[in-house]
């Protein structure tokens, strides 16, 4: 069991999140991809906390804060998504083109 395994796993999850962020058409799925990226960060923090900082475990604290903020962000994101769905009747990212120069 090594630190590097966990870090590689987190890096893979992060890259999957980035891929989903760029390619998804459905706005809900974009939000899910952001959650994946935040979870990758959390995994990083927890791995560092266990292997490099086992006495103070500041990484665990950091991860708890990230979880808190991610929950708030998801709530706000879905509220905005509901508002836009009421007005535009779609969640397709390609249709959100009112603001273009």
């Amino acid at each position: 069991m090594q630190l590097q395994y966990f870090l590689l796993l987190a890096a893979a999850l992060f890259c999957i999140g980035v891929y989903g962020l760029v390619t998804s058409r459905n706005a809900v799925r974009v939000l899910m991809s952001i959650e994946l990226m935040l979870n990758a960060v959390n995994l990083n923090l927890m791995a560092f906390s266990n292997y490099l900082d086992p006495a103070m475990i500041k990484g665990q604290i950091f991860a708890v804060f990230v979880i808190t903020v991610a929950a708030a962000e998801a709530a706000v994101g879905l509220a905005i998504l509901l508002a836009i769905y009421r007005n535009r009747d779609t969640v397709d990212m390609e249709q959100f083109n009112l603001l273009k120069w």
């Binding site: 890259c15 390619t23 809900v28 899910m32 665990q60 604290i61 808190t68 929950a71 779609t90």
Partner: protein, 200 residues
């Protein structure tokens, strides 16, 4: 390798495979409902990984908050916007996907190289283990007091803001046709906007 390490390694491999597979499902599956359930699977596997990392409190928090709150919220959102719509195909979508895939693979290689080549400063201190929860509490009320208090303001505001935005306001018809008090920007939309609207 003794028995405990073997069990740890095997559970790590199972959790890692489950997590990566579910995460790929989240971004690739055609149905967004399946994606949401697979997201729950990702969260649960990550919580298992936290257990391997001696962090039982955060593992529980992960399940409670991510699976119990965030994932349920996402499922609610999918149900509320549940119009079955087939997105208009975009030309050269596969080019974009291929390029993005290439970039992400490159990013992974870069991060992987960094992770493997960096000499991490492994600590030799004894892990705190299951006493972590006491230590977390102490941290919250000593050196992490400021972010802890600020997070309470953030949560209060997110709560209020989400309600304000998601609440359905019933306006009198007069307000909908008049220029004022219709919950819209006072500036008129530009020409481009109205043209785009009539097309639909």
């Amino acid at each position: 390798m003794n028995l405990a390490e073997g069990v740890q390694l095997v559970s790590f491999i199972i959790l890692a495979v489950a997590m990566i597979g579910a995460a790929l499902g989240v971004v690739l599956s055609p149905s967004v409902v399946y994606a949401a359930f697979l997201l729950g699977a990702v969260f649960i596997s990550i919580s298992g990984l936290y257990l391997l990392l001696n962090a039982s409190f955060v593992a529980a928090a992960q399940i409670l908050i991510y699976v119990g709150a965030v994932n349920v919220l996402i499922l609610f959102a999918i149900m509320l916007v549940n119009k079955r719509e087939d997105f208009q195909p975009v030309k050269f979508a596969w080019v974009r996907k291929a390029v993005t895939g290439g970039v992400c693979a490159g990013l992974f290689l870069l991060l992987g190289t960094t992770i493997i080549t960096t000499p991490w400063a492994f600590s030799t201190e004894t892990p705190i283990g299951d006493d972590a929860i006491y230590l977390i509490g102490e941290h919250f009320f000593s050196d992490f007091l400021l972010p802890f208090e600020l997070a309470s303001v953030l949560l209060l505001m997110a709560l209020i803001g989400a309600i304000v935005l998601a609440r359905r306001d019933f306006l009198p018809d007069a307000a909908l046709t008049s220029d004022i008090e219709n919950l819209k920007l006072p500036e008129r939309p530009r020409e481009l906007v109205s043209a785009a609207k009539t097309e639909q």
